[in-house]
């Protein structure tokens, strides 16, 4: 892939990968290609990990319970100190968007491969994030950029000004939790009271805000890449509307059917926002898109699971770029240099029952992966691998790239047909059926489509 950063002396030569599974493999590959040494960590449940054999150091840091291993900041910092790691890559999930961890890493004299604690804190709180986005000219969902007051009359007036239906959200929430849709005025106050209590208990932050509830939006993302010298670009867009219970299942790049003159100003506004808040590394702006308009919902201040589809279309290795940005290397890439080509899909292959979606732990007895031009597989499993019940059920990401969306769908159908994982249940039957669906093939389906399609598929 292209060299996108001007060279200078790196800040570190050894990276500790504070994660597990496929993303641990992916980060290790990026580090090795950059000539960096790697330290992989594991819990006792992951001692079998293949990336342990290819790491320069492999250290077990705690028991299977993630709280005492992958979420144990002290144990991770200790492993870094013992192995001489100069940087920590958090991957996604676990501690990747944890303000105190980012700060603790930097306080220990190490480099956190991600944004600084201030940026994570700014974007982690939905209200401050919305304020920052409005200041940068990023379009947001209609609604005030302040927390809801306790006064009922004022809240009722805010809802009337926005127009029903509205959605009440926890400022510290995320992942589909801590939100409630209100269709009519009579349900407003009770919804606010319940959501506030949930927010207090689940997130330790009772602050709420209110927005217009969009009925049939799509979920569109914009990927950004920033250095520590004030340079930033956006790397195109993705459509992640295929969601089940707020969990993405299939992603694609670019988002189909959105004209360049509509999305380009939004992409540039995202870049502007990054420069205003002094953002560094990679990040994703998430939007709802309805009737030709974009509405900012949140920013993910980390590497995303679905980053490969953007890598396939942009030709830029996002993980390498993230590491170089953390090394303080200047981004040697102008916006005009970013040219997205063709179409890419990613399927998340999960160890779960295709009908009930319950996790399926156990030993993988045999595997067949697809091959061919434009087919990529990111995985950590192998024949004999035992899928643990302790963690996320994602076992592989199947990614394809082709000149057009229609060709990419055909390629994914072929790739899924050539994929076999024996010994455990997977969602492969469901993915194969989805890629035969006419409406999905047509494109531009909204975030509710998959749930409706699943009901019909199960009934059939």
């Amino acid at each position: 892939m292209a060299e996108n950063f001007a060279s200078s002396d790196p800040l570190f030569d050894t990276v500790l990968i504070a994660n597990r599974g496929e993303i641990a493999v992916r980060i290790q590959r990026a580090c090795r290609e950059l000539g960096l040494k790697t330290v992989s960590i594991c819990s006792e449940a992951d001692r079998q990990a293949s990336y342990g054999e290819t790491a320069d150091h492999f250290v077990c840091i705690g028991p299977a319970n993630a709280r005492r291993s992958y979420l144990n900041q002290d144990a991770i910092l200790l492993a870094a100190r013992l192995t001489g790691a100069g940087a920590i890559h958090p991957g996604y999930g676990f501690l990747s968007e944890n303000t105190s961890f980012s700060a603790a890493v930097e306080d220990a004299g190490l480099t956190f491969i991600g944004p600084d604690a201030r940026s994570i804190a700014t974007m982690g709180d939905k209200i401050t994030a919305k304020k920052a986005m409005i200041a940068a000219g990023v379009p947001c969902v209609p609604g005030p950029d302040t927390a809801l007051p306790d006064d009922h009359a004022t809240v009722e007036q805010i809802a009337r000004d926005i127009g029903y239906p509205v959605i009440i959200k926890a400022a510290g929430g995320g992942g589909g939790r801590g939100m409630r849709v209100v269709q009519e005025p009579s349900a407003l106050i009770e919804a606010m009271t319940l959501t506030r209590e949930e927010a207090r208990q689940a997130f330790g932050n009772p602050a709420l805000y209110m927005e217009k509830f969009l009925q049939h939006p799509r979920h569109i993302e914009i990927q950004v890449l920033c250095d520590t010298h004030g340079n930033a670009v956006w790397l195109g867009h993705r459509d992640c509307s295929m969601q089940r219970r707020h969990q993405k299942v299939v992603e694609e790049a670019p988002a189909p059917g959105i004209a360049a003159d509509i999305i380009e100003p939004v992409g540039l506004a995202c870049v502007e926002a990054c420069q205003q808040i002094g953002y560094r590394g990679v990040g994703t702006f998430e939007f709802l898109y309805e009737d030709g308009k974009f509405y900012f919902i949140e920013m993910n201040t980390r590497l995303q699971v679905e980053h490969p589809v953007t890598e396939m279309t942009s030709g830029i290795d996002i993980v390498q770029a993230q590491i170089k940005a953390a090394q303080g290397v200047r981004l040697d890439l102008q916006q005009d240099d970013v040219v997205c080509d063709g179409h890419s899909f990613e399927c998340r292959i999960n160890a779960e029952d295709p009908d009930t979606f319950l996790p399926s732990a156990g030993a993988v007895t045999d595997i067949a992966w697809p091959q061919g031009e434009g087919v990529r597989l990111d995985t950590h499993i192998y024949p004999g691998y035992r899928v643990s019940p302790y963690y996320d059920s994602l076992i592989a990401k199947l990614i394809v790239h082709a000149p057009t969306r229609a060709e990419a769908i055909t390629k994914m159908r072929t790739a899924l047909a050539g994929t076999r994982v024996e010994g455990i249940s997977t969602n492969l039957p469901f993915l194969r059926a989805l890629f035969e669906d006419a409406a999905f093939a047509q494109g531009e389906t909204d975030i509710h489509y998959l749930e409706k399609w699943l009901k019909a598929w199960r009934a059939a």
Binding site: G62, D74, L82
Partner: protein, 142 residues
Amino acid sequence: MSRLDFTDPASLEALTEMLSAAGVEGLEISTPNAQLRLVISVPETVRTSPSAVALKPTNATSSTTVKAPIAGHFHVSHPSLASGAGQFPRSVVASDVIGFIRIGQILVPVLAGRTGLLTRQLAEQDALVGFGDVLFELGPQS
């Protein structure tokens, strides 16, 4: 990283809390000028030791292993002692310190965890070991 002040009660309290949270039962810190030994006292009824596979029964009835309670560099004996590794096999009781995990200046003792016959050393001297890595083989008393 700032140097620990052995005379500062707040530092010692913080260190003790970290130690308890990590599940280890004691540590030693040695510098050219001072030596500090902390032992965490836990009621026997709630005591759980990650340094041994199991605590009950306290007598080894079959071969088992003693595992590292935390990641660090393994020492089979106290670094300040001139003598090297102990003899094998040898009898030990549960509370015997049979090795150490060194983290910089900090030494975390490895306890036998049960009474038995220490038959083999499974980790190399000064090797980097992870949490739960096997250090010794412990068999029943003959």
